[in-house]
Amino acid sequence: MWVRFVGRRLWQTAPVLIGVSLIVFLTMHLTPGDPIEHMLGRAGSVTRAQIEELRAHYALDRPLPTQYALFLGKAVTGDFGPSYSQGRPVVEVITERLPATLELTLFAFVIALAVAIPAGALAALRPHRLFDRTATVVALLGVSMPGFWLGIVLMILLGLRLHWLPISGRIDWALAPESITGMNTVDALLAGDGAALRSALAHLILPAITMAAPMAAMVTRMVRSSMIGVLGQDFVQFARARGLPEWRVVGKHALRNALVPTVNIVAIQTGMLLSGNMVIEAVFQYPGIGKLAVDAIAAADYPLVQAVVLLYAVSYVGLNLAADGIQAVLDPRVREARA
């Protein structure tokens, strides 16, 4: 059953991936504006022959289907060609920035869930009481607040006024550990360097909190509502009637079932987390993929933009797959329904 489930879900993602790649390819080519003109715009006078030469070089003179086939074939092998703006292979540019974004996203993810699941569950246990009302208000503020603005407010308050935390960058450069994984916290741990670890963590906190806030808010609301629904169900009452202690009724029986629908929201929100990191990285001048994307777009660096967008999309698809997998682990009925 598991083999069938996984196989079928993977198979179902194929058309989605093709659709995504098609959209990425087409938007880059059908929207007005010419990459070559963008590239050469700053270079001053160029001859028509030079432009044609560049077009040929990047295969921009070939028919669209051919260009798409070429694009897809190369994309599968990770070959997106050289970046227009940096002159280096796109893959190289991306892998260089990836660890920073992974580290930040992972932190944000952990913070969001560590806050949201207990908060949502606690709120559901005593609905309309003080904790629930507070959590509801905070969560509503969280979903109503633009992330970039929250980042700036945190920078002003915690960074500039109270001087508790640094407001930009990834680490104190003087303390940077030797790069092994590229993730400063992990590298510092591997090197056993406490000062570097502290510096890396201090730099991570503000952007991670900012990133985590909307996700934490959404997940709290979801956990709360689905938990309230589950707590009203017979099997929870029956678990109590069997004499199970309350922590077990809530923590095992209710929460497990409440998390099944929550997993989808978590996946969607993690996707938002990913795209949100462009804004957050821009606010905090954090050198990750998001900032790379913004810079690449500003430079009309097509190959780089394509690769980054595709990377985001693939991670999106991957997240949804993972969510389905987790749901299947949590709930046998999901396994069968989708196998």
């Binding site: 099997f235 009452q237 029956f238 109590r240 069997r242 004499g243 199970l244 497990r256 099944v260 046998p332």
Partner: protein, 370 residues
């Protein structure tokens, strides 16, 4: 003159009753003037409005009524599992000599499962859909301190076997949705008896099942009752089940008990118009000539129950008095059946002989109102 005759008759029937009570012992459960309210934004709903009833060891007592009459709320109140916004506002639940309503939460938790167990209406929703039935059964045993680890697994298999599940060892690995409705209810019953309780509260245990399965499940409960000396409080709306499986029955209407007595009396000579109405709603198999008479109207609005008798608005025999004055639950004189039963020495028949009715048509003997 007529009063004297009645007294005589009473004395003759109360004697064997005392003998019977001694045999059966004191009630394991005695609910006294229990009240449970639900706070809604329209006002307070008195779902359980001062009911009293008792269950003796080895006895099956049915609590009968339409949906919405408060019988499930009463069951949950006994377990102290009334979900918010409901709360118990008064009365006592004396179980084995102690008032459950006075216990701490932890003490109450040790009562649940080990002393009083519950069987729910819909076995599909009563079992956690995401866990294997074996795991849920083992968890129950472990919580109740009955067994752990391997021993618990063996006990679990034995329990599944005891409730008539074939290939019990294999079914341990099944998820609830993989079992049929009847099997699921058997699993629920196995979990209920896992802690070797003294009392099982069965809340509509067969309502969600096919008719053919209903008898099987009821027979299983009856068999377990015999084997384990259980007391059963059966919550149901099905008079057929009551007639076949209960010893005594209490009819509940709008949060109150309106009639109570041996099942045989209730079925053969119902005194309360509501009980008579309920009986007339039951279609008779093979007797198409006997018409079905539904009770008109519906359960009253419990935020503002009618003044006087709560059944009066729907009662075909209501008198002016019924709309003004709430009747009290009064002990009734013995019926021809109980007198005959007594003279024929059937004093140990199920359900005893005492019957009470809350109706102005049956003023009863006075002094026994509760």
């Amino acid at each position: 003159m007529s009063v004297d005759v009645r007294h005589e008759a009473l004395q003759t029937v109360t004697k064997p009753l005392q003998v019977e009570e001694r045999r059966q012992g004191a009630p394991i459960l005695a609910v006294k003037k229990l009240r449970t309210c639900f706070d809604t934004y329209r006002g307070q709903v008195r779902a359980v409005d001062g009911i009293s009833l008792s269950v003796r060891p080895g006895e099956t007592v049915a609590l009968v009524g339409e949906s919405g009459c408060g019988k499930s709320a009463a069951a949950l109140s006994i377990m102290r599992l009334v979900p918010p916004p409901g709360r118990i506002t008064g009365g006592q639940v004396i179980f084995d000599g102690q008032d459950l309503l006075a216990l701490s939460r932890a003490e109450m938790r040790r009562i649940r499962g080990r002393r009083i167990a519950m069987v729910f209406q819909d076995p599909l929703t009563a079992l956690n859909p995401t866990l294997r039935v074996g795991a849920q059964l083992v968890e129950t045993l472990a919580t109740q301190g009955a067994a752990r680890g391997r021993a618990a697994r063996q006990r679990a298999v034995a329990l599944l076997d005891a409730v008539g599940i074939p290939a019990a060892a294999e079914r341990m690995r099944a998820y609830p949705h993989e079992l049929s409705g009847g099997m699921r209810q058997r699993v629920v019953i196995a979990m209920a008896i896992a802690g070797q309780p003294d009392l099982v509260i069965a809340d509509e245990p067969t309502t969600a099942l096919d008719v053919t399965l209903q008898a099987q499940i009821m027979e299983l409960l009856a068999k377990l009752k015999e084997e384990r000396g259980l007391a059963i409080l059966l919550i149901t709306h099905d008079l057929g089940i009551v007639a076949n499986f209960a010893d005594r029955a209490a009819v509940m209407y709008a949060g109150q008990i309106v009639a109570e007595g041996p099942v045989a009396d209730l079925v053969r000579e119902p005194l309360h118009p509501y009980a008579r109405g309920l009986l007339r709603c039951v279609p008779r198999l093979g007797r198409p000539d006997v018409p079905i008479h539904p009770i008109h109207g519906s359960v009253p609005d419990m935020v503002a129950p009618p003044a006087g008798c709560r059944f009066a608005p729907r009662c075909p025999e209501a008198m002016p008095q019924c709309r003004q004055e709430m009747p009290v639950l009064k002990r009734q004189p013995p019926t021809a059946r109980t007198i005959r039963q007594n003279s024929e020495g059937e004093s140990l028949a199920r359900g005893g002989t005492v019957r009470r009715v809350r109706c102005h048509l049956h003023p009863g003997e006075g002094g026994n109102g509760r």
